[in-house]
């Protein structure tokens, strides 16, 4: 049943069905949003772990962004490397 029709019918009638429908729509949306940052956090952690095996990294300098488009979605990974990252480890010490 559409919301408008529900509202129309419910001027003086039961309001619980409206509450139920509003909640269902809202929570479906919010649950979708909730999943997303989680995925990003997992990706960030794993990318950080892989790169850290080879280069010393500041974990705060790893940024992962997701852009959801209609036809194309992109994942943007931005890692700032520390100064002298490509020098041998012995030379850094």
């Amino acid at each position: 049943m559409s919301m408008k029709l529900l509202r129309l019918l419910s001027r003086s009638g039961p309001t619980a069905p409206i509450a139920r429908e509003r909640l269902q729509i809202l929570l479906a949306h919010e649950r979708g949003l909730r999943g997303q940052p989680n995925l990003l956090e997992i990706l960030r952690e794993e990318i950080l772990a892989v790169v850290s095996r080879h280069v010393m990294l500041d974990s705060k300098k790893v940024n992962v962004k997701m852009d959801k488009g209609r036809s194309v979605s992109t994942l943007e990974v931005d890692i700032e490397l520390p100064y002298g990252f490509d020098k041998p480890i012995a030379a850094q010490a």
Binding site: G13, P14, A16, R20, R22, L23, L27, E30, R31, R34
Partner: protein, 271 residues
């Protein structure tokens, strides 16, 4: 094996503290050794609902920080010898609770009690996430009302991501406790009914606590409703709920307050 339970809701004022007190007392009345833990640092109230407010002499923050023994902060109920309270600190500094400190205290409580009930503060801030952090299971207290249901859904998301059990990849057992339920209003379609709330949140139902004057009367005198008025509808609903927590299978009934003819008449006039 000891069970650590968090009583949580997201929204304030839905009956977390009242329910923690009633569930804790009901478990103790069944012979279980229980401790109820107040996590509302700065705004403690579990002591008041349990009638132990004048017996809090020691700041439990010292225990969490590891400078004092747990036994100094635990308060034994005067009516139920199996029921203990660990009050919250009234310190203004909420950062005094650390993840590690809470973990150690919960571990120690696990070794001493059958049940550890953590009363979460409202909201999703630090103390609320610490209250759920080490729990094995969760009781989500929800009123049949849109904002409460939405906040409960948010809390379920946190239980599935921010707890130690979630980080280990385990599925935490969650129980829905619907409180302040008015079956007459639900039947008239003025209030979300039990099935609505259960379907929207999709977690198993632990109990339905009817809207009742007995609950307020119980907190007025500082005695959990299962003790002060064991025959009342909310007390029976809480008692059924803890039996289900212990694994008994008990038919779900919507208990409601029986109003006298005069009461109904007067209420209609007043409305």
């Amino acid at each position: 094996m000891t069970k650590v339970l968090v009583v949580t809701s997201g929204k304030g004022g839905v009956g977390k503290t009242t329910s923690t007190a009633a569930l804790g007392a009901a478990l103790a009345q069944l012979g279980e050794k229980v401790v109820v833990v107040d996590f509302d640092v700065g705004l403690r109230n579990l002591d008041l609902v349990l009638g132990a407010e004048r017996r809090v002499a020691f700041d439990p923050i010292n225990v969490v920080q590891g400078v004092a023994k747990l036994s100094r902060a635990l308060i034994r109920d005067k009516r139920l010898e199996n029921l203990w309270l660990l009050p919250a600190s009234q310190t203004r500094d909420k950062d005094a609770l650390t993840d590690e400190g809470v973990g150690l205290v919960i571990d120690e409580l696990r070794s001493k009690f059958d049940w550890v009930l953590c009363d979460s503060p409202a909201g999703i801030e630090r103390c609320a996430t610490l209250a759920m952090r080490y729990a094995d299971e969760a009781v989500i207290v929800t009123n049949p009302e849109v904002s409460s249901v939405r906040d409960s859904d948010r809390i379920i998301g946190l239980l599935d991501s921010k707890t130690v059990s979630a980080e280990k990849g385990e599925q935490m057992n969650k129980h829905l406790l619907i409180s302040r339920y008015d079956s007459a209003r639900a039947a008239r379609g003025e209030m979300l009914n039990v099935d609505d709330v259960r379907e929207i949140l999709s977690i198993p139902l632990l109990g339905i606590i009817p809207e009742s004057q007995d609950v307020l009367r119980a907190s007025n005198v500082g005695s959990p409703v299962t003790l002060s008025n064991p025959g009342s509808p909310p007390a029976r609903a809480y008692m059924d709920a803890v039996r289900r927590l212990r694994g008994e299978s008990i038919n779900m009934m919507v208990l409601s307050e029986r109003k006298s003819f005069m009461e109904r008449l007067l209420r209609r006039r007043a409305a």
